[in-house]
Symmetry: C2
Subunit: 86 residues, 2 copies
Amino acid sequence: MQRLAQRPQSVTDLAAELPISRPAVSQHLRVLKRACLVTDRPVGTRRIYEVDRDGLAALRRELDQLWGATLDNFKRIAEQAEQEQS
Amino acid sequence: MQRLAQRPQSVTDLAAELPISRPAVSQHLRVLKRACLVTDRPVGTRRIYEVDRDGLAALRRELDQLWGATLDNFKRIAEQAEQEQS
DNA sequence: AACTTACGTAAGTGTCAGCTTACGAAGTCG
DNA sequence: CGACTTCGTAAGCTGACACTTACGTAAGTT
């Protein structure tokens, strides 16, 4: 994702920058695609992947919300423990 | 952690509320103790565990900071992708 | 048409987290 | 002291994950 955030890239180019094999990159991309975090388009024999802006934004919103709820719980538990101490 | 946040409890009592065995609970508690998230004290043959307020607060601070940094990166990448689109 | 490049997928493998059962240690109570 | 409770730990199992190699396919090249 970080690499793709820099610029759209082919599978082989991505694998060249990473310490894993090309098929491994394909498998990662398959998951990311299914999660709507990347999109791909064929260009000749190659296949260019790039980040899916909409999917990324949606994930961000969900994470924001989840983190807010988690933090609220966290705060509540911590304050509750603190209160029972005193 | 949620159970312990309600009230300090023994290992057996905790295991009774959870879908796993008593030794499994012990193993979880060992990790939590090593992470300074719970404390324990012997009471007769039993051993009462409770949340470590200080450790929990420290974790909260670290998570707040980490999440802030992560969100900044996230925002930067998203806005960068958005900008290159237009 | 033959060859090359780029890719996806299937099949196999190593590793690890998390669980279980079995056992031993420490404390309590008759 | 002996029986009982509570707990920790060791040993072993299992499923999932992430990777690899091998192979088949589609598109471009000579």
